[in-house]
Symmetry: C2
Subunit: 211 residues, 2 copies
C-alpha cells in the first residue's frame, strides 16, 4: 500500500526524532526507535539503510528548523528594538515547545563539527550580515556599535534565549530549590531578555557620550 508507505516512513522519522533528541546519537538505540514507532527493527533499515543516515536526516531537519527561526530577524521591516522584542518572543516560545532541542543541537554540533560546516557552507551569511548592517546603519551608529561588536551582540542575544534551555535541568533545579517556578521564569524571560539587551545597547551610547 502506497498510503501506508508514507505513514510508516513518517512514523519512523517522528519516533527517531524523539529518541535522538532524548538520548543523542550515541545513546539512541534502533530498538527504541522501532518500539516507539510500533514497528519492527528491520523496517528501520528498509527505509533508512543505516542508523547514521536516519540520524542525519533527523539532524538536518531539526537544525534547519532552528536556523529558520532566525530568519525573520533578517528581513522583517522593523526597527532594531522591535526586532529584538520580536525575536525573543518568538524564539523563546519556540524553545518552550521543544525543550530538548537546544541541548541536543549543541551536543551534536560539537560531537561532529563537519556537519555544521557543511550546513553553514550552504548559507550566504555574508549577505545576511550586510543586510543587518544596512538595515540598521543609523541605529547602530546612534548606539555606538562598531562593526567588530556585531558578533558580540549577536551571540549575546542568542545566549539570552538559548542558555536557559541548554542548561534546563540545572537552572530548573536551582530555581525550584529557591521557590521559583521554571515555566513562569521562562514566560517572564520573553520580555526580560528583550529589555535587558535593549538596555545594554542604549548604555553603549550613554557611556561614550559622557566620556
Amino acid at each position: 500500500m502506497v498510503e501506508n508507505d508514507k505513514q510508516t516512513e513518517k512514523k519512523i522519522f517522528e519516533a527517531a526524532t524523539e529518541v535522538f533528541m532524548e538520548k543523542g546519537m550515541d545513546g539512541a538505540r534502533m530498538q527504541d526507535i522501532a518500539n516507539r514507532a510500533g514497528i519492527n527493527k528491520s523496517l528501520l533499515h528498509y527505509y533508512y539503510r543505516t542508523k547514521d543516515r536516519l540520524f542525519n536526516e533527523v539532524f538536518e531537519m531539526i537544525f534547519g528548523h532552528m536556523l529558520k527561526k532566525f530568519a525573520p530577524v533578517f528581513d522583517a521591516d522593523l526597527t532594531l528594538e522591535e526586532k529584538i522584542r520580536f525575536f525573543f518572543r518568538e524564539h523563546i516560545t519556540f524553545l518552550q515547545k521543544n525543550p530538548r532541542l537546544a541541548s541536543f543541537v549543541l551536543h551534536e554540533i560539537n560531537r561532529n563539527p563537519e556537519r555544521v560546516r557543511n550546513f553553514i557552507g550552504r548559507i550566504d551569511i555574508g549577505r545576511l550580515w550586510t543586510d543587518i548592517e544596512a538595515q540598521h546603519k543609523d541605529e547602530l551608529k546612534k548606539s555606538n556599535i562598531r562593526r567588530e561588536d556585531i558578533p558580540q551582540l549577536m551571540t549575546s542575544i542568542a545566549a539570552m534565549s538559548v542558555f536557559p534551555f541548554a542548561a534546563r535541568v540545572l537552572v530548573k533545579s536551582i530555581l525550584e530549590k529557591m521557590g521559583y517556578d521554571f515555566d513562569d521564569y521562562i514566560e517572564k524571560r520573553k520580555e526580560y531578555a528583550a529589555e535587558f539587551v535593549i538596555g545594554a545597547i542604549r548604555k553603549e551610547k550613554g557611556i561614550r557620550e559622557k566620556a
Copy 2:
C-alpha cells in the same frame, strides 16, 4: 609498587577525563581510555570497577570544579559592578582553558537529571542567595532590581559567559566565515560581557526613573 599505583590511577583518570569530555559518556569507549592512558583495558576495571563509576568520578570532579569557579562571586568584598567584571574575566578565562567543558557538562546534565539534583542537594543555595541579596541590597534597589528578577539576572550572566563555548563550533564557523577570529572574539568578550550586563542593569534604573 605503591608509587606506580598512584601514577597509574592518575593516568587513567586523566585519560578518562579527556575521552569523556570529547565523546560524552555514551560515545566514550573503555578501549580508547586504555589506549590514551597507555595501559591495558583490564586495568581500568581493576581501579574503577565499571565504566559508570569511572564516569561518575570524572563528572563529579569536573562539575565541582566548574561550580567552584562561581564561589568568588558570593564572598568577594567587591561592589556589584566589580564582581561582574571579576566574574567574566575569571570565568571566560577558565572556559578558554577548558573549551569542551561547557558542552560536556550541559549534555551530561540533561542526560541524567538525577546526578544534578544530588549535587545541588549538597549545596546550601538558600544561603548563597541571601548572601548576595544582603551584600548588594542597596545596589539592587538603586538599579530597581526586584527579588523576582534575580534568577533572570543570574542566568543572563551565566549565559553571556557559557554560550560561546557551548555553541563553540557553530559560533566559530560563522565568525570565521565572516573574517573574524574566534580566539580574538573570546578575548574581547571578557570585557564586552561585563559592560553589556552593567549597561543592562543601569538601564533598569534609567527607564523607571523616566516613567
